[in-house]
């Protein structure tokens, strides 16, 4: 599921900082609130603070899944919050108009997919910088959502749709189950096929990838479309949970949380190697911190500041400027068994006086074995 090299030179799992941080935050919560890990089964559904963290973290986790791949292609999708609002608006409005669950789900997911396709086309075909391309939908998207709800907060009572937000599957809350399912599908899509490699290749060097025959526009469009779909799922969950669509506030600022989760998960904003599970861990860290701040009695207003501080710390740790001062055994992001070293001007692999060995005349049969 994760890229090839899972361990650094010292044999330390390269995801150690992420898992370590998650454990630390959870332990801190436990210290503040001894019942933190207590889980109860009630009415066929699990309850407890830990479950709550998972449940509340689901929308951001879903966004993070899509965002991870977008960021891996060296892009970013600022419109996911607006797309959540659109899919929520579609679902609530259609349900209010008396449509059944299946067409409602299908239409709002399709709306998200369409938004993603639009972003993807702008980035891949019109070659607009991702941050700007998705800015358009970020600005216009909430207007579109308001257009759909006609500026109202649309509420509904359909138990079917509500179950998407508050139901459960095999005792697991529905949002958590959906997130796990989306993660599994996404993981299969990118790691059981060659899509993951293509995404990373495009993210590292779009020109080279195109030259090697990678269908870069298709990879980019697919990634943004998938991100839109994930956002639509997140929008559905939020709408189903509050049984209503608020075009103004649904998913507001969640794009930032999603980006934060991806960055905390160790995927570089410069594209390339990515880890889906780690982004999810990132999302959980963020949610667990939110919960912890609440539990500790701090005002929830501190949340934003704490998030900002975490973001800065993670970025500082990844900053190439810092690596110059503190050479570490394994960079958390390079995914290579070799420390990322500042590159000297001349290639470190010296090759001046080479034994002129060369290709032994045994003949290269280009096809041999291939």
């Amino acid at each position: 599921m994760t890229p090839p090299a899972r361990t650094s030179a010292a044999g330390i799992p390269r995801a150690l900082p992420q898992y370590g941080a998650l454990v630390a935050v959870l332990l801190a919560n436990w210290l503040l609130f001894p019942d933190f890990f207590t889980i109860r089964l009630q009415d066929g559904r699990l309850f407890g603070s830990l479950i709550d963290v998972l449940n509340r973290g689901a929308p951001v986790a879903l966004l993070a899944i899509g965002m991870t791949m977008v960021i891996a292609t060296r892009g970013v999708d600022l419109s996911v919050g607006a797309v959540m609002a659109i899919s929520g608006a579609v679902a609530a409005t259609m349900t209010g108009a008396g449509w059944g669950l299946a067409p409602v789900l299908a239409t709002s997911l399709a709306a998200g997919l369409l938004c993603g396709l639009w972003n993807g086309l702008l980035v891949a075909v019109l070659r607009i910088q991702p941050i700007i391309a998705t800015l358009i939908l970020m600005v216009a998207g909430r207007g579109i959502a308001q257009l759909i709800t006609e500026g109202q907060i649309v509420t509904f009572t359909s138990p079917g749709l509500a179950a998407v937000g508050s139901g459960s599957v095999l005792t697991v809350p529905m949002p958590v189950a959906i997130t796990v399912a989306v993660l599994a599908v996404t993981g299969l899509l990118v790691r059981r096929t060659a899509l993951g490699l293509m995404i990373e290749a495009v993210g590292v060097n779009r020109l080279s990838s195109a030259g090697a025959g990678v269908n870069t526009p298709v990879v980019l469009v697919a990634v943004y479309a998938w991100c839109g779909l994930c956002a639509a799922v997140a929008g559905l969950i939020v709408t189903a949970d509050i049984r209503g669509a608020d075009a103004n506030n649904a998913g507001l600022w969640l794009e930032l949380d999603a980006i934060l989760a991806v960055v905390v998960g160790g995927t570089s904003l410069l594209g390339g190697r990515f880890g889906l599970v780690l982004s999810l861990v990132g999302a959980l860290i963020i949610q667990a911190m939110n919960t912890g701040i609440l539990l500790s009695g701090f005002k929830p207003e501190f949340n934003l500041i704490v998030k900002a501080v975490v973001l800065m710390i993670v970025l500082l740790l990844q900053s190439p400027a810092l690596t110059l001062f503190l050479p570490r055994p394994g960079s958390p992001r390079s995914g290579s068994p070799h420390p990322r070293t500042p590159r000297p001007a001349e290639p470190p692999v010296k090759s001046g006086s080479v034994k002129s060995g060369g290709v032994k005349s045994g003949g290269i049969k280009p096809g041999a074995g291939a």
């Binding site: 700007i132 939908l137 579109i144 973001l311 970025l315």
Partner: protein, 325 residues
Amino acid sequence: MIQRFLPLIVTSAVLVVGFLLCAAQFPNFASLRVVGNLLTDNAFLGITAVGMTFVILSGGIDLSVGAVIGFTTVLLAVLIEQAGWHPAAAFAAALAVSTGFGAAMGLVIHVFRMPPFIVTLAGMFIARGMGFVLTTDSIPVNHPLYGVLNDVALRFDGGGRLSLPAMLMLAVFALAVVLAHWTRFGANLYALGGNRQSAELMGVPVGRTTVLVYALSGGLAGLAGIVFSLYTGAGYSLAATGVELDTITAVVIGGTQLTGGYGYVAGTFVGVLIQGLIQTYITFDGSLSSWWTKIVIGALLFIFILLQKGLLAVWTGRGGETAEA
């Protein structure tokens, strides 16, 4: 020659045509009163957009401006109403804090070579968070000076007035044009936006310029916060949500390349006015809902980005496309 000013010309033409269309539809539209209100209503946006123009010209972006405006209004309200400061002292403090905040972000961006996008995003969190921590309520400011300042205006025949915020905005734009085109700092900004590495090799003080430009953007956002506080007469930590998007939009519509290095401050002024015009039109029409503003602005953004792409292709003279499959 004309090529270089083409984006500016197109933007201005859009503004003029838009205004004429509005005037044709609503007889009262073409009046000094409407123009005066247009300037006043968009003064805080215009002031912020100047800072954003500089940041974008230098190849960066500042997502924290809306949050800084919100924080400034809260800070002013708290200092004036709760701590009993004189507004002038509070203004000075707000400007100092916002400028320092911007400078700190610039420092982080430069020293740690982090993407401006993400640093200012964190800045946005911090500024909003600090506002929340001060208070989550909306605090009205009742100091008499606010009333006095709000009455300062140049009055014209026909009910038109050029308010203090509008005058401030015009002054900021005028100074900004001078700064951009007739100072070494301005040239350094363009240089930085053109190519950071080359600029550094040519002796541009990259670090100082980066810190200064974000300090400038922060300071102008603080000034916009003061204007916003005067305009609304209250401090609210959720004030000016999404203003960062509006300002970026104004800058792009004004013809500045989001990748940096190309663009004009004057264009941003036109961009702000176009946005204001759309809003005014929707108010005048009465039957159109407010969300059309967002959709139309999104559409304009799209059109202008396409236009820029086309122009850049013409500029660099590479008409032929590379088939990067």
